[in-house]
Symmetry: C2
Subunit: 241 residues, 2 copies
């Protein structure tokens, strides 16, 4: 039996302030919950309308009705299962290796895809400005496809972080040095700006190199999506060594 | 004055069958409509709740009330303007240059981002399998950021297309030749599969080369998003020449 206050708590976890207050986040749907579980996150509780939704975790499941799931869910069409997980403790900011820094990235899908890319390219840390979208937003969690458990996401003042980081920093801008002419060192920070405003002037001032992906031909595309641009940068950074 | 049947027609354009029947599609919101207009699409009609929503096109605007816009819109929160545009006439399939072929790509955001990438890398044609998402789906149009007007999207039987195309074809798979060891020719087809099933066995049989983006380190990311993978492939194809 699930009481009203419990439904309200789960529903509230759609909002950042309640996630921070309770140090809990939500993942929905069989595939996403399975990935978050197998990536090692500690489940607080798993609600499901189907006792067999997760064959290896029947013992963890609290059976609920369709109506209750609808009331808890952030999805238009809830999908059988909703898991509540603990947000891991904060860890120290990275001081070596390659790091991705994101200035004001707001789109949950973009942040999720970026985290998945970092996982693929073995980048252990993403450092976000304080105004970037929360990585435990349910849409971010879904877009990471489980990578959220393997990549550490930090929120801090980017300018201070860049000044403290011992390696060089590379800002992705529209008219920088072409990426093909850039020789990347063994460690550093790649800085990407928001979808609509790019890197803010304050952060820009702390970056040592400005780099770009040149546009081909006479095309008039305005810009690349932040996640697709990052894919190309990370591929180039990793091919350098 | 907008009559009921007109509202119904616009609303129906959210669905592919009506778009095909009327050869019309919808773009919503000031930014998207502006981009579609400036990319050269012919507007059939622009509805807006604000006569000054598009400063250079006041003469084209039909003023409507908030309630009417809500009834026409496919968005949860309609944004001032909705444009109805003509779908361009079908053109011949490409027979040279570099072409992107998409087998069963279903996610509108992914197709939109892919079209935007093609625009950036001067790829003029995208050839989709018949079951791929429609490129005039409003979510695709929005994700292309105007590139939909500069890249031709075709729907056809991919196997026949690959057999007819004179150049080599390269399929993006999980365990193919590493992309760094591939020397790309001056023209060819890059084939990408669906988000969940990859390239279908039938299409696979018509592809001359299997290529991959190697994963770095001991990461366990399941795969790259189709758009981010394409970004890396196109970057490599263009750096070859």
């Amino acid at each position: 039996m699930v009481v009203k206050s419990e439904i309200k708590l789960v529903k509230n976890l759609q909002q950042k302030k309640y996630r921070n207050q309770h140090r809990l986040f939500v993942a929905e749907g069989c595939k996403t919950v399975q990935e978050v579980l197998s990536s090692g996150f500690a489940p607080k509780v798993l609600y499901s309308t189907d006792k067999n939704a997760l064959p290896d975790h029947e013992d963890l499941i609290t059976l609920i009705g369709e109506k209750t799931l609808e009331r808890m869910s952030g999805l238009k069409t809830p999908n059988k299962i909703l898991g509540v997980f603990e947000i891991p403790k904060k860890t120290a900011l990275p001081t070596n290796g390659w790091v991705i820094a994101l200035d004001g990235v707001k789109d949950p899908g973009n942040l999720g895809t970026l985290i998945r890319l970092c996982d693929w390219f073995d980048i252990a840390h993403v450092v976000c400005s304080m105004d970037a979208v929360d990585c435990y937003n349910p849409k971010v969690v879904q877009a990471t496809m489980g990578s959220i458990a393997r990549v550490r996401v930090h929120y801090t003042d980017l300018t201070s972080f860049l000044l403290d980081f011992p390696g060089e920093s590379y800002g992705a801008v529209l008219n920088g040095l072409p990426i093909q002419s850039t020789v990347f060192p063994k460690e550093g920070v790649l800085v990407l700006g928001s979808e609509s405003h790019g890197i803010s002037p304050e952060v820009q001032g702390s970056i040592s190199h400005q780099i770009s992906i040149p546009q081909i031909g006479h095309s008039s595309a305005e810009s690349l999506n932040v996640a697709t641009a990052t894919a190309i940068f990370l591929h180039e950074i990793r091919r350098s060594h």
